[in-house]
Amino acid sequence: MDLRRSMLFIPGNNPGMLQNGGVFGADSVILDLEDAVAPMEKDAARFLVAQALRTVDYGASETVVRINPLDTFAAVDIKAIVPCCPDAILVPKVESAADIHQVVAMIAAAEKPDQTPVKIIALLETPCGIVEAYHIAKADPRVVALALGAEDYTAGLGAMRTKEGTEIFTARTIVINAAAAANVQSIDTPYTDANDEEGLLADTQLAKRLGFKGKLSINPRQIDVIHSVFNPSLNDIDWAQQVIHAIRKAEAEGSGVASLNGKMVDLPIVNRAERILHLAELLGLMGGEK
């Protein structure tokens, strides 16, 4: 399971941030060639990000590059970046499975023969993209996650972006559902007020409740809060351990049905419990207790 609780944008034309991107503990760093880079500096940022991918140690963070949209510099970005072996490409403004097919073809052409296949994360940030979410997620095995970009999306709706996010509720649930149906991850839109820690907490908690697996982030200060929400709580871990215990007990007794506190434990529950324990183990949250 790839951990993408937090995916941190790093401006692609800023050497200081690029060299330090690995120190913030984000599960993924997104080296950004798109919105964070002025049109005149696209070429320079491309060189910089390419060099950073070759030389900077991002530690445990997954390396992702946000390229420019298909109708601008996507082709030249892919050609320059893919051979530098990023883990994934974040494709902005994806609107159809055909967009993904196009990107896949370009990636495949740019990959070196012995290279680990570069994954794709599709950023859905238009009403069309939301409509096509499931088909986009299913378009190619390289697609590992759908991410929601709510700023452009609300502009496309003609709605106002608010902190409560009522206007993006539908888009959020569609993305989550499409991703789950296609068996890929869903990543929530960033919380754009870096100074509002309480707002970030509430927004991230909502995202988790709705079913998102992680959140985009525009500021390193947000990482700890985001992780605190997506990390399994001690209660979660406790419950998961009880579920696994119940199922083992039922197996040992030769019973086909396990129950916990009077409720039947069925496969989806077991899956959820296993996911929590796996996550807890990955994050070193299991400790010595129990």
Binding site: N14, P15, G16, L18, Q19, D43, A44, R46, F47, L48, A50, Q51, A52, R54, T55, V56, K79, A80, P83
Partner: protein
């Protein structure tokens, strides 16, 4: 190509960055480097080596390079030099871009 077509610049004067200006050299001038750096005493030689290697790797033999360094790492110096060369009309080798 032994030199470049025109003068060009890349990079900024922000901390950890370097501003590279390249200008065509005359035939046989060699690689002329003018370096300003906040870490001249500690890394001046290293910076000159990376500048020289980056342009040589592109087959350029005659060029003037001015670098104003604000503590950039080698990877940044290399990237900014390549960007400047590219803007100056150099056709860069595939694997570097």
């Amino acid at each position: 190509m032994a030199s470049i077509a025109k003068t060009a610049q890349a990079g900024t004067l922000e901390s950890s960055d370097v501003m590279i200006t390249v200008a065509p050299g005359t035939q046989g001038s060699g690689i002329i480097i003018e370096l300003e750096s906040i870490v001249l005493a500690q890394y001046g030689e290293d910076i000159k080596i990376i500048l020289e290697k980056t342009v040589k790797d592109q087959g350029i033999t005659d060029i003037y390079i001015k670098a104003v360094d604000r503590g950039a790492l080698d990877c940044t110096i290399c990237a900014r030099t390549l960007a400047a060369l590219s803007r100056a009309g150099a056709v860069l080798k595939e694997e570097i871009i």
